[in-house]
């Protein structure tokens, strides 16, 4: 019985659900069947929540029958395993949280539940969101649905792969340095990192608090807009969360980009980039011009310093954020005679190599005698990077760049070279330092049939500009994403 409702977009599924053409239970069942079939090759999920998902589906069907259900009611989603989900284990891709079952929901989980969304499972990720390939998951890597010999990107690789492979209709990821945009690009789906503070971080396991941001994956810009409408907005439990009113993002999707000024930063088209990536992005820019937008070359002169600044800021914050994993109140404990030994062995066994490496770097950057040279220096450079964007946005409304210098790389290719791995975030990382919104949208394929992503960047809180431009590009039909091999 190949109804394949799991291949619907959220917008289509939602209208069919509300029109009583299909039920949430059927839709969820199709997703779960697809998960059962694809997971042995993909490993997009750490935990599949079949029982809970079907329960949620029944409740959603009752609500849909009553009428007036929200757009996300009955829509099956994948949830990155970084979100606290009450009663469902939340591992963050780590041994140290392998058995942790939160007694509370993250704010965005609460909001999705309130809308009647269905959680089919918790998706795979780099441990504590530290990585660009999902190979740092303690539970094994996620494979790219377009080529299972390649990575899905990271850290939200499980969410990106699950959406690309039709295991769910949309998913939540988090983005600290590109962790939504890079896997979206590698897997050929839409991924949005909203403005810092636009979405509550409460209940999202912290990696680097001043950089982390919540966002959706979807198979269309419209679907992504539907999800962030529910996610965004003030939260009394997150002091850094903005109180600005949330626009109806779907209404921004007018298809009209006439007069839009698009900035193209010269620093983002560099030597060593895969030529097909540049070609696809340049061709998309031509499409925008044909729609009545203009392009202008801009400069973001401090782009080359972003990775260095990021790795000091992010690891410093992480070194404190991850101090709570001590084997006392929750998570893994390796017993020892005294408390110091207990901490040291628990943390040595519970954390993977990359996490420990970053904790070490961050601890060093904050330690006595090195704070000014490393941590403080990085925060000053952060100001310069922020100023670059501020100046650039005097000349344009939107910036368009590639998401990553290459398409998905091979599994294992960069695992022994941390710095090379870090460099794959070169185009995404500066947005996190500046707090800006960014979206990855598929714009082409390379000769291996691997997806290429284009990044749209806007000033703070201008998500509507990004969505409008992304949707307009989709409407041109200039590029049609291919169905993944898996």
């Amino acid at each position: 019985m190949a109804s394949e409702l799991n291949k619907l977009t959220i917008a289509d599924a939602s209208s069919k659900l509300r029109g009583r053409e299909i039920t949430a239970t059927q839709l969820t069942r199709d997703c779960l069947d697809r998960i059962a079939a694809a997971e042995p090759r993909l490993h997009a999920f750490i935990t599949v929540c079949e029982r809970e998902a079907l329960e949620q589906a029944r409740a959603a069907d009752a609500r849909l029958a009553a009428g007036n259900a929200p757009a996300l009611c009955g829509i099956p989603l994948g949830i990155k395993d970084i979100y606290a989900t009450r009663g469902i284990r939340t591992t963050c891709g780590s041994r140290i949280l392998e058995t942790f079952v939160p007694p509370f929901d993250a704010t965005v989980i609460e909001r999705l539940r309130a809308d009647g969304a269905i959680f089919v499972g918790k998706t795979n990720m780099d441990e504590f969101a530290m990585g660009s390939s999902t190979e740092n998951s303690a539970f094994g890597p996620t494979m790219n649905p377009h080529d299972i010999g390649r990575v899905a990107g990271g850290s939200s690789g499980g969410s990106a792969a699950a959406v690309a492979a039709y295991e769910c209709l949309g998913a939540l990821g988090t983005d600290t340095g590109g962790s939504i945009r890079e896997p979206a690009s590698f897997c050929g789906v839409v991924g949005i990192k909203p403005t810092y503070s636009r979405v509550s971080r409460y209940g999202v396991v912290a990696y680097a608090s001043s950089l982390d941001q919540v966002g959706p994956f979807a198979r269309s810009v419209r679907d992504a807009a539907i999800i962030i409408r529910t996610l965004a907005g003030k939260d009394a439990r997150d002091s850094t969360c903005s109180a600005r009113p949330v626009p109806d993002y779907e209404r921004a999707l007018t298809g009209d980009v006439k007069g839009l000024r698009i900035g193209v930063p010269r620093e983002f088209f560099v030597e060593g980039m895969q030529p097909e990536v540049e070609k696809s992005v340049r061709s998309a820019l031509k499409n925008y011009e044909s729609l009545g937008a203009s392009t202008v070359e801009i400069s973001l002169p401090h782009t080359g310093y972003a990775i260095a600044a990021y790795y000091l800021v992010a690891t410093a914050e992480a070194s404190a954020n991850l101090a709570r994993y001590d084997g006392i109140r929750f998570g893994l404990r390796v017993n020892a005679e005294d408390n110091i030994a207990l901490y040291e062995t628990t943390r040595a066994h519970g954390f993977g190599a990359e996490v420990k490496r970053r904790i070490m770097l961050g601890t060093f950057a904050l330690s006595a005698g090195y704070y000014d040279a490393y941590y403080l220096k990085a925060q000053k450079v952060r100001t310069l990077i922020r100023n670059d964007f501020e100046r650039a946005f005097e000349k344009c409304d939107l910036i368009v760049t590639p998401v990553a210098p290459t398409t998905a790389f091979k599994i294992g290719e960069k695992m022994n070279e941390p710095l090379t791995m870090y460099l794959s975030d070169i185009f995404t990382i500066s947005l996190n330092l500046a707090g800006l919104p960014g979206m990855s949208i598929p714009c082409g394929h390379d000769s291996n049939n691997l997806p290429i992503g284009m990044q749209l960047i806007a000033p703070p809180f201008a998500e509507e500009t990004i969505l409008r431009a992304g949707d307009a590009f989709e409407r041109t039909g200039a590029f049609k994403p291919r169905t993944p091999a898996v």
Partner: protein, 479 residues
């Protein structure tokens, strides 16, 4: 050992709980005495993904304390993370304030004592931070309770302006009085809401530079602070006199052995890696907020003292005793309405009332009869309805029974008789029974007057108004 040749240099870091209903960053109760881990939630347990949200009242109380101690209130301050590992510290860092405390500078004035002039002790800073949980040490294991985790604290840091254990005690008492005046703290030491770290060094009297200091951690009563400083100053003098050098170290006070000893755990000799807390935006205190808090401030001890001396005619000493504790001063003022003699009320509170409070072992408010009742009692003395002795008897009874002044006077029959005809009748009786003494008195033996008063009082069962007796007797004997 020549102790006199040396001078101690002492600075105190006082941590005190703020009197809020809920914790600093979450909605858990701060109530003392709950079952283990009852007043905890994901936030104060440091569960993955949780975030802090600041309690406004805690900020107001810190500002009130700062204003009372003449500090400058920072219009912009930030919170920082202080990192160290300890089982009672859930997040592996404490949210505190490092480079930008909410209050800077300031001072606390110590009153004059028998031995010395009034003194001004400068403050370095006051900052807000969260408390850690509590460890209970067993034979083979320790148990951790996080009820205290996240309870708001302020840390009040003094300059090294204190010169003796007595100084430190006086400073702490004055500080506690201020904290209680502004409702920042209840000053209940027994519930661990007060902790003090002492930095102690010595130097030759007259020397300018400081000696090497030791730090005595976690003293939780005024008594321990004074004892520990006394001991530590003596220990350091002995070392120096013996030709040795004082080591810079962290010490603990052992109250049973009455000595300091080095702390064994390495946790405290740490590199705290302070950095700005990314989960909390900067704390902005606009001028309007500072003014609003200032307007809500109660009268402070120093102002109260001035008023007592200038307007109520009390001596400086009397005023000092009364203002030392806000409850006592409030009590004193509550006895005043409708009293003419403020001084007698002051004396009464300082002697009778404070004695009862001292002897009871309970808190002042719990131990003493309502101020209005004591006021009523004193009003009766003033109106000559009872004698001073009767008032004392009645007061003692009121403490025991909890009954009001009127009821007690009535029950004990302590009301004074001022009825002139009854007193005149008693006088006649006494004079008629003692014709010889009457003759002697009239012949010039004035001293006998007291004898007649006593005899009349005795005949009246001790309840007659002595002034009326005097007047009537004098009239009859000279008449």
């Amino acid at each position: 050992m020549n102790r006199e040749a040396y001078e101690a240099v002492i600075g105190l870091e006082v941590h005190t709980h703020l009197l809020t209903r809920s914790k600093l960053f979450c909605g858990c109760s701060t109530t003392f005495g709950a079952g283990p881990n009852e007043n905890v939630c994901p936030v104060c347990m440091g569960m993955p993904g949780v975030l802090p949200v600041l309690n406004r009242r805690a900020v107001e109380l810190a500002i009130r304390t700062g204003l009372a101690a003449h500090c400058a209130i920072a219009p912009y301050s930030i919170f920082d993370r202080k990192s160290y590992f300890y089982p009672d510290l859930p997040k592996g860092y404490q949210i505190s304030q490092y480079e930008t405390p909410i209050c800077k500078g300031g001072y606390i004035d110590l009153p004059a004592t028998e031995n010395g002039e009034p003194r001004r002790i400068r403050l370095t800073r006051i900052h807000i931070e969260e408390d850690a949980g509590k460890n209970i040490h067993g034979e083979n294991a320790s148990l951790v309770d996080f009820n205290r985790s996240g309870v708001p604290l302020i840390e009040i840091v003094s300059e090294p302006d204190l010169r003796s254990a007595e100084d430190a005690g006086a400073y702490l008492r004055q500080l506690r009085a201020i904290l209680r005046y502004v409702d920042a703290s209840d000053g209940k030491m027994e519930e661990g809401s007060f902790r003090c770290d002492c930095n102690v060094s010595i130097r030759k009297r007259g020397a300018k530079e400081y000696g090497v200091r030791s730090e005595i951690k976690n003293l939780n009563s005024f008594r321990f602070v004074e004892d520990a400083i006394d001991y530590e100053v003596g220990r350091q003098i002995e070392i120096v006199e013996g030709g040795g050098k004082v080591a810079q170290e962290t010490l603990l006070w052992d109250p049973a052995r009455k000595e300091t000893r080095p702390m064994r755990s390495k946790e405290y000799a740490n590199d705290y890696r302070y950095f700005p807390e990314p989960d909390l935006p900067p704390l902005i205190v606009p001028a309007e907020m500072e003014e609003k808090v200032r307007a809500s401030m109660p009268e402070l001890p120093a102002d109260r003292k001035t008023r007592y001396v200038r307007e109520l005619g009390l001596t400086e000493y009397e005023a000092d005793v009364l203002i030392a504790d806000r409850d006592v001063a409030d009590y004193f003022e509550a006895t005043l309405p409708a009293l003419k003699n403020r001084k007698s009320a002051a004396n009464w509170v300082m002697t009778e009332v404070l004695r009862v409070a001292r002897d009871s072992g309970e808190s002042f408010v719990e131990a003493v009869p309502p101020a209005a009742e004591v006021g009523a009692l004193l009003r009766m003395v003033e109106g000559q309805k009872i004698s001073l002795n009767a008032a004392k008897t009645a007061f003692a009874a009121m403490v025991k029974s909890g009954k009001g002044a009127e009821a007690t006077i009535a029950a004990l029959g302590l009301a004074q008789v001022s009825d002139e005809s009854a007193i005149a009748a008693a006088c006649d009786k006494v004079l008629a029974a003692e014709p010889e003494k009457v003759a002697e008195y009239r012949a010039g033996r004035d001293k006998l007057f007291g004898f007649f008063v006593g005899a009349v009082m005795k005949a009246m069962g001790g309840k007659a108004n002595p002034k009326v007796i005097n007047d009537i007797l004098r009239a009859k004997l000279t008449g």
